[in-house]
């Protein structure tokens, strides 16, 4: 993974000193809250219902065990002993005190971490595929380009006061695990169609969820890699100059792309790009090599393939192990290795949370079983990317010690939920209790596995931080005359077959929503063509009538 040189370290150290100075001036009254707000947001300090929330950047989700141990220590020392992994591969602390934050940032800087631009109207954390570098279906490892984009976007002087937040995601696989089609800019790293030995990018623009969900469109079909940053700069400049600033809910780039149409938008970008593409922003081979040197494969042992062994584990007499291997273990591109997903969605707990003890155990396991690296998935789970398949049973036993072996990755109880009304002053309804109640209700693991792969997303308001539009099942909490109600949507997908879900019918009160979800699942089980017809495929094939009949008694 990328290791800081003195330039990188100087930037984060000076950032800490800058924020220390800003906090001191805030506490002395020299600056007021209006002036302080963008300064603290651009250091990840976001105001929630009860307290500040600190969002720490985890660039493209990649962590060393040292870094994860430091995150655990920060949770213990400055917070309530746990952290929350977000849908953009960051970690959030819900209870830090303002006066402690400069010290927290200093401790993060000591392990090459920061909270720069994780909030505010600026370019946010660049996210990626949590299986980058190890997935069998990957065409090009995107992480080199993620790091290059991270550096370009960090403290970019021209784009710190955009009309609104800006999110970039990068994938190197045809199976998009980074949800690039619902980002402001989505980048697919691809071989040059005319010369596969070269790499470049398909650049998508204008995707997003929130109040006006929209899928991104192709802005450039193939961009040679040397032009990556100048092209992104052209897009950002067009957005900074022409994005709407009159209405906060109409200020994202997707609105501008929608208003102009993709052709006109692309023309503006190309006109700007033509003036900068041949200048100093061109990336050099030396820089590609410098960054790529940080992402060379670890010292994999030469092992025999173990796919048969792994398949046998799934059917073995140890049912807990078998289910866990079936759902949480993925094939690795190196023979004899597996990718292990750690579920942070145990029954009855808020999704995506991890205690300091759990984080420390995962760090230790990364060192003892892998090469000291952990990845945060945008589904709010963790990944141990390089595990020898022979050691899977041993690893499973260790994870079980601290409730980190819930066998539900990709299943209906692998819920993505926003913080909701329990934490967030934008919310209309609570989301976490729905997630925990659903997990408790669906406690038959064989049933959960029989249901197969289903994504379920819960948002507590129309800002859609739980990404409910792209869940196979999406739930939106609303306020109806002071009561919490939940709208049920079906048919969304965040993958390369991206689609936005649609509402089924009238919303359900809190007392009825769990049963409603249950009914949706039973409708699918009863009517699917075969056990391996995925939930999403059944919904797309059968439409909504079978569900509406069961839920509302009519088609």
């Amino acid at each position: 993974m990328y290791r800081y040189d003195h330039y990188d370290q100087t930037i984060v150290d000076q950032r800490v000193a800058q924020f220390r100075d800003q906090v001191a001036r805030r506490l002395s009254g020299e600056i007021g809250e209006d002036e302080f707000k963008p300064l603290r947001l651009q250091n990840g300090l976001y105001m929630q219902l009860h307290a500040y929330m600190l969002r720490v950047a985890i660039p493209y989700g990649l962590l060393s065990s040292t870094q994860l141990r430091k995150l655990a220590e920060i949770a213990r020392k400055y917070d309530r002993g746990y952290g929350h992994f977000s849908t953009r591969q960051n970690i959030q602390y819900n209870w830090p005190r303002l006066q402690d934050v400069p010290e927290i940032l200093a401790e993060l800087a000591s392990v090459e971490m920061h909270a720069i631009q994780t909030s505010g109207n600026c370019i946010r954390n660049t996210t990626s595929d949590q299986l980058a570098g190890v997935a069998r279906d990957e065409l090009v490892d995107p992480r080199v380009y993620c790091e290059i984009i991270r550096q370009w976007s960090t403290l970019h002087p021209e784009f710190a006061f955009l009309p609104r937040k800006f999110k970039i995601a990068v994938t190197g696989s045809p199976n998009d695990r980074a949800a690039v089609r619902v980002h402001d800019i989505g980048v697919r790293v691809i071989p040059n169609p005319e010369d596969p030995s070269e790499h470049g990018f398909e650049v998508l623009v204008g995707g997003g969820l929130g109040r006006t969900p929209r899928l991104a469109e192709v802005c450039r079909a193939y961009l040679p890699r040397a032009h990556l940053l100048s092209y992104l700069e052209a897009i950002l400049r067009v957005y900074n100059r022409h994005g709407r600033r009159d209405n906060k809910f109409k200020a994202r780039i997707k609105i501008l792309v929608g208003a102009l149409g993709i052709e006109a938008f692309r023309e503006q970008v190309d006109a700007e790009w033509a003036l900068i593409r041949d200048g100093v922003m061109q990336l050099t081979e030396a820089e590609f090599e410098r960054v790529a040197a940080h992402f060379t494969p670890p010292a994999y042992r030469e092992l025999e393939p173990r796919d048969t062994y792994v398949a046998a584990l799934k059917l073995g007499t140890d049912r807990a192990l078998g289910r866990w291997v079936a759902s949480n273990v993925l094939p690795h591109k190196i023979p004899g290795y597996s990718i292990v997903m750690i579920s942070l969605k145990p029954k009855g707990r808020p999704p995506g949370d991890a205690t300091s003890e759990q984080m420390e155990l995962v760090a230790a396991l990364a060192d003892q079983f892998g090469f000291g690296e952990i990845v945060v998935a945008h589904e709010q789970n963790l990944v141990l990317p390089d595990i020898e398949s022979e050691r899977l049973p041993e690893l499973h036993a260790r994870l079980t010690e601290l409730e980190l072996a819930e066998p539900n990755i990709g299943k209906v109880t692998d819920i993505i939920a926003c913080p909701g009304l329990d934490y967030c002053n934008l919310a209309n309804a609570r989301s976490i209790p729905i997630a925990t109640r659903l997990g408790e209700h669906l406690d038959d693991l064989d049933y959960v596995h029989d249901l197969g792969d289903i994504t379920l997303n819960i948002s507590g308001c129309i800002n859609a931080c739980g990404h409910h539009h792209v869940g196979n099942i999406g739930i939106l909490g609303i306020d109806k005359q002071g009561e919490e109600f939940y709208q049920l949507m079906l048919g969304g997908s965040a993958s390369d077959d991206a689609s936005l879900g649609k509402i089924l019918g009238p919303a359900f009160p809190t007392a009825e929503i769990i049963d409603a979800i249950d009914t949706v699942l039973r409708t699918y089980i009863d009517n699917r063509e075969a056990p391996d017809e995925r939930f999403l495929d059944y919904v797309r094939r059968a439409g909504f009538s079978p569900f509406k009949e069961r839920l509302y008694g009519k088609a």
């Binding site: 930037i11 001036r25 002087p157 021209e158 940053l229 100059r241």
Partner: protein
């Protein structure tokens, strides 16, 4: 350093200006006399005072202004179109960009393009809702002078201008780090 009052009297104030030095440019606090005139403000009676006028007024009254001993320059709104104004401002000693609200970041692109694309070589000054904590980015976008919002500390501005000694990406001040990394 004793706290310096930015406002000295009618028509003069203290601002931060980047002065050429051996180190490149060094920010310093200076006393400034440029008079910012809105379209219906009369010219100052002291005709040696330098004045800033809108581009519309500049076009109308250029001969009159050129006849005065005092220099003249232009002020432009922060959302001005660089393409539309580049020719009109060429050769002026000073262009002042008005920042309406510090959260409106269009002026950063404006400054950068005027400086880098259209080769404006005079002083580029920010005025309006200009706060100390934005000066570092403004400098990197090509601004060379800062008139801070009333009540804001110039000493703090000098300090915030020095926040970082390293920058990753290209700006009006230098190219990207990846072309300089050693």
């Amino acid at each position: 350093m004793a706290k310096l009052d930015p406002v000295l009297g009618p028509g003069s104030r203290r601002i931060i200006r980047l002065a050429d030095s051996a180190a490149g440019t060094t920010p310093e606090i200076v006393i400034d006399h440029w008079q910012l005139l809105r379209d219906d403000d009369p010219l100052p009676s002291l005709d040696a005072l330098p004045v800033l006028v809108s581009l519309a007024r500049l076009a109308r009254e250029r001969e009159l202004l050129a006849a005065r001993p005092g220099a003249f320059g232009a002020w432009v709104p922060g959302d001005a179109d660089p393409e539309a104004i580049a020719e009109a401002i060429a050769g002026l000693p000073l262009v002042a960009i008005e920042v309406p609200k510090f959260t409106d970041g269009r002026h950063y692109s404006l400054a950068r393009l005027l400086r880098e694309r259209y080769g404006f070589a005079g002083e580029l000054r920010a005025f309006g809702d200009v706060l100390p904590d934005q000066l570092f980015y403004m400098r990197r976008c090509g601004y060379t002078a800062f008139e801070l919002k009333l009540g804001k500390s110039l000493e703090t501005g000098l300090r915030t201008l020095a926040a970082f000694s390293v920058a990753y990406q290209a700006g009006a001040d230098q190219g990207p780090l990846y072309r300089r990394r050693a």
